[in-house]
Symmetry: C2
Subunit: 208 residues, 2 copies
């Protein structure tokens, strides 16, 4: 992701931009038209100069004399973060976490299109969750080949994580978003993003 | 969190230490006694000098001529990351995500003790999930007062996030781990950690 001068945007800025985006969606749902950098800063407890600096990275901030136009600013963040480029994903593991992610409509706002879920539990196969079909895991290889899948979201129990990762890699999928606490062993051309919930927790509770 | 010289450990190092910890648990379950920095580095695709540098921050690394002793290294990481200091938590929202977190036994390995869940769905109240009782949300105030709760993990649908946060704050809980996509408005003495799954996703798919 790049800013208006085609310089890369740091992870911390990306993270803050998605939080600004959440605030903007909330303001839109409440019918509020304008927002100031101070209002954003107050909600996130950060410095308003930081907010202004971040928003200056965008192509066009929709800034007026009464603050930023909420709708314009939201669109500009979406363009900068590349939401318009849709990624096609599947969820491997239709347990509670997989179900929660399948239900999370917010993903589509960010260009993540979850097409279906995979599981080995015959009681779940054929059911739908949030309009997404749960498919038998043995069909993953064929499905991925036919449906041009970019990302597999891995949400199986830890003991099945590596074998499912092997299946995903064999299916030709090049990105794994790994929600299991297992460090996966995959071939060099596959990228794994470890969603390290425990690492996040430990950072949060650092002074607790 | 501090290293052996009582200097603070950065978020990135904390994150890597938890990944090393996952690898060590895997090695222990496989009955392997020793591990080298190269083996860890290879699994995580980072430089082995980085692994050695991180492990040098620990008090006692259990390093021998044949690499690190897996069990000793695991204990040392746990001591450094303060897992021994248990935090008492509740989950607010017994939907799929709340259920997934309640089932995630790994938390207790990291000093997070989830005592119970809260919901407003009468069909769920009184049931248990992973030995944790689901309690009517109207009892949260009294429960928190009587049970010395450190952390509320917020997993309700977006439209209930702010009102539940208000209830949590009124109950005297000072830390909210927020899994909803809502930026919460809370009093100054309460800390909110936004588990920004979309921000993480966008960082991951930066070059996709």
């Amino acid at each position: 992701m790049y800013n208006k001068n085609m310089k890369p945007i740091s992870d911390k800025v990306i993270n803050r931009l998605t939080l600004y985006h959440s605030i903007l969606r909330d303001y839109i749902s409440k019918g509020i038209e304008n927002i100031s950098s101070k209002q954003i800063a107050l909600l996130l407890r950060i410095d308003d100069s930081q907010v202004r600096k971040d928003l200056n990275l965008l192509n066009n901030t929709g800034k007026t004399r009464v603050g930023y136009n909420v709708k314009e600013l939201k669109i500009n963040i979406e363009q900068t973060l590349g939401f318009s480029k849709t990624k096609r994903a599947i969820i491997v593991g239709a347990g509670n976490l997989g179900m929660a992610l399948a239900k999370y409509d917010n993903f589509s706002n960010y260009g993540l299109n979850i097409l279906s879920l995979f599981d080995n539990d015959s009681k779940k196969i054929g059911k739908t969750i949030n309009n997404k079909l749960i498919i038998e895991i043995t069909n993953l290889y064929e499905y991925a080949k036919n449906n041009d899948i970019d990302i597999a979201i891995l949400t199986v129990p830890a003991e099945f994580a590596q074998s499912c990762a092997d299946t995903i890699v064999n299916s030709g999928i090049k990105y794994i978003w790994n929600f299991t606490p297992v460090v996966l062993n995959v071939s060099d051309d596959v990228q794994v993003w470890n969603e390290n919930i425990m690492g996040n927790f430990l950072q949060f509770t650092i002074d607790l």
